[in-house]
Each structure stands twice: as C-alpha cells, then as structure tokens.
C-alpha cells in the first residue's frame, strides 16, 4: 500500500493472520463486528461530526477496503466508497454486506460509536480510529487540541507500519505442535432464533473495583476473569444434577491479549493473541480466593514472551504451510469453520478488557464514559463480556444471544457482595 495515494484502485491487502478465520465463519448473526462507544458531555453536533468524518476520511486507507474472494484466499481491495455515517437506531454489531466498507460510524444523542469487523482490525485499531475522530470533532467544535497530543492526524500520510501484518513480522520458525485441550463447560441456555444479540451494560466505580483487585493482589483483568469463572461455577452448581453429569467440568476463559505491548508495532490491523486461564471442577468446587490464585499464575505463565512467540509460530506457520496455501478457498473456508467450532468448544466464555482510556485532561472532561461491546458470541459460547474504563467508571458489557441473564446476574451479584456499587443501564 506504499503508493496508495496514487494507485488506490490497484491496491489490495492480504488478510492478517487473525482475520483469515472471520470470512469463513461470519453470518448475519455471527457478525465478527464489535463496537466502541463514547458518551460525550454534550449532544453530538452533527455538522461538526460530519466535518470530522470527512477530515479523517482518507487517513485510514487500510480500512477503506472491501472483502474480495480469490481462488485461494480472501483479500481486501481498496474502495472509494465514503465512510458510512448513520444514526445509531439499530441493533449493535450488525453485519456488513459485500457492497459496504467493513466499518461504520454512528451517532445518537450524546453518543458516538464506531463498529468494525474483525476482518479489518482489533479493538486497539478501532480505538485509534475513534480517538482521531473524537479529537478532530472536538477541534471542529472549537476545543483546542494540544500540538503534543498523540493521535493519527488527518493530514498525515499513513506509515507503512500501520497496515503491516505484525504476526508475519514477528513470525519465526519454531516448534508448532498442536496442544491437546479438553472441551470446556458451556452455558446450557437456549439460543434465541433471530435478532438474538442483546447487550446488558453495567457501570461500576473504578476506585472501588481497583481496591478489591488490590486486596486480592491481582490486576483488574485478573479480578474480572476470576469473577467470571466464579459466576460460571455458580451457574453450573445451580443446574439440575442430571445436566451437571452431562457437562464438561473444565471452565476456561479466552482472554485476548494486545501483543503491541510486548512486540512493538504501530499496526492498525489485528495483533492479538489469547490466553486461556481455567479451573478444573473435577478436582472439586473452588473458592473465589482459589480461583484468583489460579488465574494470577496462569496469566503470568501464558503471557511469557517465549510462549507468545511459540503461539505466533504455530498460528502463522499453519496457514503458511505449502499444502494449505494450495488448497482452494471453498475447502479452506469449510476447514476453517470446522476448526473455529472445535476451537470455541475448548473455552466457556470470552472476557475482553480494553483497559483504561485516558486521552488528555482537557479532552477527558468532554466525555462521560466509554463502552466496548464485543462481537456477538456464537451458539456454543452464548455470552461474552467486554470491559473498558474511563475516569472513575468501568463499563461492563455482556453480549448475550439467549433469553437467560443468569450469568450476568451471578457476576454482578458477586461484585455487589464484594462491596462494588453496580448500576445497570
């Protein structure tokens, strides 16, 4: 994409290593689309908002692409379509059709949201886009932005590194043997048939929650994973004996880890791996303290850089395999969708923590809170959770494709019992 400005029509990109699975599995319900929202202190001024979108329109050319089907692989082709800007009046995280770009910008009352397909990027890339949009919007509203403020400015030429496949950059040939992982427990709730994705958001104070995680000597992410595992255990224990007997008793959570923190890159595409902390109820029921201890150690072991390098080698190596590369796309898609189903049967839920957002004090005062809605979970997982902090607020968003709120209730009840004030919105 080096000569992007001159030869846009001829430009295409390979999907990054993490994105390759999504075209094979996506459907109107399993969209692989996530959302980041920000509630502003004031109503969205639509003229300034549209001006801001226009200003950044060409700053992110690697997102102005459409998915194309080749004989061996899907690929991304540059499209001159304008960024889709819409009123946020529909269900979140809807799918994109083939004629659209794979991201959209939404506004409603005092909320600005961006929705991205995972084919394009992960939450870090989407947040950088939203940050640029917000800062340009505030500038259009007459709020001065410091020249030192770090963000991707509209006039800049995108750096090559922004659209690199960082997995390939850090790929080294190494041991790539597959690890046998037992199937995990899955929530037994019935999946809704259509329009099934619903989101429950709860706000909790950051200071109270940090106080609790410090009390246990763990990070906030580890605290939330432990609460999630404990809640899953409670759901399991409330099941009738017959259902419990038929269930797997390993409770495992998939936790995305932003690799940019370990392996430096400015990539705006996917660069995430997963760690899988677990508890094994075949050894008996766990107390919360036992879960915290297990999660703490597993997270440290699994985020070791050598192990991360090994996982990258395994993932990239398997798709770069000479045989795999020569298999036609329709066969590859079928196999990838099967691998995806097998993969998701190995964990019970997904907890994604974006961390605490902090832009600049004068900019922060223009915003009230952020929310992160993870992509709709599949029929096996049924529920997932997205977390993001801003100011003294943490937003917990539970995506759910069933009618049951039992897991969310157990999670939020635990927080309340642990002394954290919970407000559902």
């Amino acid at each position: 994409m080096k000569e992007l400005a001159n030869r846009r029509n001829e430009v295409w990109l390979r999907l990054d290593n993490a994105a390759k699975i999504y075209p094979a599995i996506r459907s109107p319900e399993l969209t692989a689309v996530f959302r980041i929202s920000v509630d502003l202190a004031q109503r969205v001024k639509v003229a300034a908002f549209l001006d801001a979108v226009n200003a950044i329109e060409n700053r992110f050319p690697y997102y102005k692409v459409r998915l194309r089907t080749g004989f061996f692989w899907y690929y991304l082709e540059y499209s001159a379509l304008p960024i889709a800007v819409k009123a946020d009046t529909d269900r979140p995280c809807r799918d994109f059709n083939k004629r659209e770009l794979m991201f959209r910008v939404l506004a409603r009352e005092n909320t600005i949201s961006v929705e991205f397909s995972h084919i394009l990027t992960d939450a870090t890339g989407a947040f950088e886009f939203l940050k640029s949009l917000l800062l340009v919007y505030f500038e259009k509203c007459g709020i001065a932005i410091s020249p030192e403020q770090a963000f991707l400015r509209p006039g800049e030429t995108p750096a090559n590194e922004e659209y690199e496949d960082a997995y390939s950059r850090y790929f080294k040939k190494g041991p790539s043997s597959l690890i046998q992982v037992r199937k995990a427990f899955h929530l037994p709730f019935t999946v809704k048939k259509t329009s099934r994705f619903n989101v429950l958001t709860a706000m909790i104070p950051l200071d109270e929650t940090s106080g609790r995680s410090r009390h246990y000597g763990v990070s906030l992410t580890e605290y939330f994973i432990a609460v999630y595992l404990f809640s899953l255990q409670q759901v399991y224990e409330n099941l009738p004996l017959r259902s419990r007997r038929g269930s797997n008793r390993i409770f495992r959570i998939e936790v995305p880890v932003n690799l940019r923190r370990m392996l430096p890159t400015r990539t705006m595409r996917n660069f995430t791996l997963y760690v899988l902390p677990e508890i094994d109820l075949r050894l008996g029921a766990y107390t919360f303290e036992e879960i915290i201890k297990t999660v703490y150690h597993q997270m440290r072991l699994e985020t070791d850089q050598k192990l991360i390098n090994k996982v990258i080698s395994r993932n990239v190596g398997s798709l770069n395999n000479h045989f795999v590369r020569r298999v036609p796309l329709f066969i590859k898609s079928f196999l990838l969708s099967r691998f995806y189903a097998i993969g998701t049967s190995r964990y019970s839920g997904v907890v994604t923590n974006l961390g605490k957002i902090d832009i600049a004090p004068d900019i922060n005062s223009q915003m009230d809170n952020f929310k992160f809605i993870p992509p709709p979970p599949n029929k096996i997982l049924k529920v997932n959770c997205g977390i993001v902090g801003f100011g003294n607020k943490i937003a917990l968003s539970f995506g759910n494709i069933t009618s049951s709120r039992e897991l969310e209730k157990a999670f939020l009840k635990f927080l309340t019992d642990d002394g954290v004030h919970v407000q559902t919105i």
Partner: protein
C-alpha cells in the same frame, strides 16, 4: 438549538432534515408541507377520481400527437 426528534443529535440552524437519519426538522417539515398547500390553490388533476381511458381516446391522442 435544533435537536433531531429521532436520533437526538444537535442540528445546525440551516438544516432542514437530519443528515444521519433523514428525520425532518420543524422547518424542514414546514418546507415539505408548503408545496402541498400551494398545490391546493392550483389543484392538480385528482388521480383518485379515476377517469376511464378508452382505447379509442388513446388512438385519438396518438393521431393528434403525430398528425396522422
């Protein structure tokens, strides 16, 4: 300050409709309504009172048009 009644964003003073959702603003609704009021004073043929059109009249119309 003008607010879109549908999506709640703040509209610029000169906007007749919301560029995000297409909802007409108060002025836009008025502007949209006005032509209809003007039509009232110069009424168009009423389509609902259907006049039957016979094949003969069509042939006559064609003959007139093409001076046949």
């Amino acid at each position: 300050m003008k607010i879109c009644k549908n999506c709640g964003v703040e509209l610029a003073d000169d906007m007749l409709y919301c560029p995000l959702c297409g909802e007409l603003s108060d002025e836009g609704a008025l502007a949209h309504y006005e032509p209809a009021t003007r039509h009232d004073s110069h009424p168009h043929p009423v389509l609902s009172g259907k006049k039957s059109v016979s094949p003969k009249s069509i042939v006559a119309l064609i003959k007139r048009k093409f001076h046949v």
